[in-house]
């Protein structure tokens, strides 16, 4: 029993500080400009196709990246509704933006699960959902300084890569769809 009690205490100490009660006033997002180095890993997309992640991130389209998983509650639906809505708003500019969602539950997120997820959000071409080995996914999360060791830290994060100079805008928090579109414009859309 003694063995088992210690981890509980530890997790309490770790999480007690990070918990905040969300309310209408504190949902503004934080914004910063970053530069990241992409790991050379091969991931799998919703069609089961292999994807060289570094190549994908080096395209000259505008890229947005977020971290979700197929069965996640609360923040994933909100993030994904944001992606879906952006695609809707882009109209003829649809193919100027490449939306990428990276699974943080690669064990469960098989191509089949990811494809169904995208269908549920009425995703159009240009929105890819990527899974892979646990190590490769960890490498990607670390590269974006987004390593998510536990659930309390799974905060909504969106990253946008400028099509002009390759720098990244880091957006921490949930954005409304006008805010998201405005951020894409600033990044060169």
């Amino acid at each position: 029993m003694a063995l088992r009690i210690i981890p509980i205490l530890l997790t309490l100490v770790m999480t007690a500080g990070s918990f905040t009660h969300a309310s209408a006033s504190d949902v503004k997002y934080k914004r910063s400009i970053e530069s990241y180095t992409m790991p050379d890993v091969t991931l799998i997309n919703q069609d089961g196709k292999k994807v060289r992640f570094r190549d994908m991130m080096a395209s000259n389209r505008l890229i947005a990246v977020d971290f979700i998983f197929g069965t996640c509650t609360t923040i994933c639906p909100v993030l994904s509704a944001g992606y879906a809505n952006l695609q809707q708003r882009l109209g003829p500019d649809l193919n100027k933006v490449h939306l990428v969602s990276i699974s943080i539950d690669p064990e469960n997120d098989t191509p089949k699960v990811m494809k169904e997820y995208l269908k549920r959000y009425r995703a159009k071409p240009g929105w890819d959902f990527l899974t892979g080995s646990r190590n490769d996914i960890d490498a990607v999360m670390k590269a974006f300084d987004a390593y998510i060791p536990n659930k309390m830290a799974h905060y909504p994060l969106t990253l946008i890569r400028s099509s002009q100079n390759g720098s990244w805008v880091r957006l921490f928090g949930l954005l409304s769809s006008s805010e998201f579109l405005a951020e894409c414009r600033k990044a060169g859309l």
Binding site: L12, A24, P149
Partner: protein
């Protein structure tokens, strides 16, 4: 310093009265309400319209109430966003402060909702105190009729505790389908031993007030610290089509809160169906034949069993042969449910993998494996045959006709270690557990039971570890449930708190014995999703080397 505040918030446990009322759906309106709540569909069949984050329209089918408030309606916490309960009790009756999980305490200061103020809130996002709700909570445009249906549903949602709970006891049952089966008996004893150890703890807590306070604080749940767990044994006899009636009879006599563990050497389907229809959670039965379903809710399995091994074999083959000429792929199956499960799993992947169809040959008693190999020289043979055919498999492997061969550890068991060295080099084996040399580090997890039960075979060690996993999942769930004895809430907390990498409290996805990773997420029903492809080493007492990662995409 840390413990004090915990003790305070623990003293107001809401749940302790027993009841036998079950939530059901006596009328059509409730059925429609459930569809709105769970699926985001209006009675008309159209999607509810939701607005998220202020201005983002989204179909209600991707924004169902359950994706945040969960199936039980008790809410969730995720990504720093605290979703309150949305049950009738909490909305329409005088809200009392409640502790839902160890991180979530609600003390709503707003007035109670009326039907009208609820409708106003759902449409406009302002609560009866005039507070504008966080815009993560969508705004829903609903007509009055539909609104009334949803309200009616919420008033019923998690309104009475599920059966099987008394002031001092939580009643559970273990279903065993093979009377006299030694493995089943051993497994049941392992489970009982673990539960008895917990109950002894409860007894000792009760004696010393100081210990009691410590236990409450440490376990963060009066319930886990103070309720005795009673596990009944429900033995089913005769053929599977008679089990349902037996289950009903047991249930009438002993209306338990949930089923835990359980053992069947054959089908689990009738028990699965029983759980689904009575809405009784069933945690982790030991079976090679879990029901494979994307939507069923009530049974949590260790894995997809043999089906999963079959699927892993197909993924491995597809990946290994990607971009090459695949040659013929032939599944050889014997006439058993095991071979059928393996084949179904294989086909579920292979048929969508873009490869040419795999042929299947049924191995009848008269046909020779070696002749099949010889007639199809150079093919990849996927051999779903059991250990009765091991000698034949060995001969056929030695004859060297095939390009590569695949077999199942789950089906063949540890007899594969007896294959002669020459037969090993072209044989790949699906292995659904952590590799043996690493698994050694996890043996200590079950010391407290193995010192009582002295397991003598690899199977018994495995059963002990499985019983241990059941016990861990149950203990953590009872802590997180915090006295909210609703069956759906039990499954909700397991889904939320056992999501991957999200180890809170006792349970981490990487610290279960037996499986490399073991986790659930919301709605996920198979804990282990991985499987290795291994080969036997050349040594006299061979070991295993993995030829694939744990998860094969």
């Amino acid at each position: 310093m840390l413990i004090l505040p915990l003790i305070f918030c623990l003293t107001t446990s809401a749940a302790s009265k027993a009841t036998t009322v079950e939530p059901g759906l006596p009328d059509k309106a409730l059925h429609f309400g459930e569809k709105m709540y769970r699926e985001g569909l209006l009675p008309s069949g159209e999607a509810m319209q939701a607005y998220v984050n202020g201005d983002t329209p989204a179909p209600g089918t991707s924004f169902t109430c359950i994706s945040c408030h969960l199936r039980s309606g008790l809410g969730s916490i995720e990504g720093g966003i605290n979703t309150p309960p949305t049950t009738g009790k909490y909305l329409f009756e005088k809200p009392e402060p409640i502790n839902l999980t160890k991180y979530r305490h609600f003390d709503p200061s707003r007035p109670v909702y009326t039907d009208a103020s609820f409708a106003a809130m759902l449409r406009g996002g302002v609560d009866p105190a005039g507070r504008v709700l966080n815009y993560v909570m969508p705004r829903y445009h609903l007509h009055d009729d539909d609104m009334a249906i949803l309200i009616r549903y919420l008033k019923r949602l998690s309104s009475t505790f599920s059966p099987g709970v008394t002031e001092q006891e939580l009643h559970l049952a273990t279903v065993i389908t093979e009377p006299g089966n030694a493995e089943a008996e051993f497994y049941y004893r392992a489970l009982q031993t673990l539960i008895a150890q917990k109950n002894n703890m409860v007894k000792s807590f009760g004696k010393e007030p100081r210990k009691t306070r410590m236990a409450e604080a440490m376990l963060m749940s009066r319930e886990a610290a103070f309720k005795r767990i009673v596990v009944k044994k429900w033995v089913l006899t005769g053929p599977p089509d008679t089990w349902r009636a037996q289950l009903e009879q047991h249930y009438r006599k002993e209306p338990v809160f949930a089923l835990i563990g359980g053992f069947s050497a054959g089908s689990w389907q009738p028990v699965h169906q029983f759980s689904e229809e009575h809405q009784i959670p069933c945690l982790l039965p030991v079976t090679d034949f879990p029901v494979i379903s994307d939507n069923d809710w009530y049974t949590l399995y260790f894995s997809k069993g043999l089906f999963q091994e079959g699927a892993a074999a197909a993924r491995y083959l597809l990946r290994e042969t990607d971009g090459h000429d695949r040659g013929a792929v032939i599944q050889i199956v014997d006439d058993t449910v095991s071979a059928k499960a393996l084949r179904d799993g294989f086909n579920s992947v292979w048929d969508n993998g873009g490869a040419t169809a795999a042929r299947t040959i049924l191995l009848t008693p008269g046909t020779s494996l070696q002749v099949i190999f010889q007639q199809n020289k150079g093919a990849t043979f996927v051999c779903w045959t059991g250990n009765h055919a091991l000698a034949k498999l060995s001969e056929a492997l030695l004859a060297g006709y095939g390009l590569r061969h695949i077999a199942s550890y789950g089906y063949l068991g540890s007899t594969i270690y007896s294959l002669p060295p020459k037969a090993r080099s072209s044989l790949f084996i699906t292995y659904p557990y952590r590799l043996p040399h690493q698994e050694k580090n996890y043996d200590a997890y079950v010391n407290s039971v193995s010192s009582v039960l002295h397991p003598s075979t690899p199977q018994q060690v495995r059963l002990l570890k499985q019983a241990y996993a059941v016990y861990q999942v149950l203990s953590q769930a009872l802590i997180d449930l915090k006295g909210s004895y609703y069956r759906d809430a039990l499954l909700d907390v397991i889904g939320m708190n056992m999501a991957p990498g999200m180890g809170m409290g006792l349970v981490l996805d990487t610290t279960f014995p037996l499986y490399e990773r073991f986790s659930f997420g919301p709605g996920q029903r198979y804990a282990s999703k991985g499987c290795y492809i291994v080969q036997l080493t050349d040594e006299k007492n061979p070991g295993l080397i993995n030829r694939s990662d744990w998860v094969i995409h």
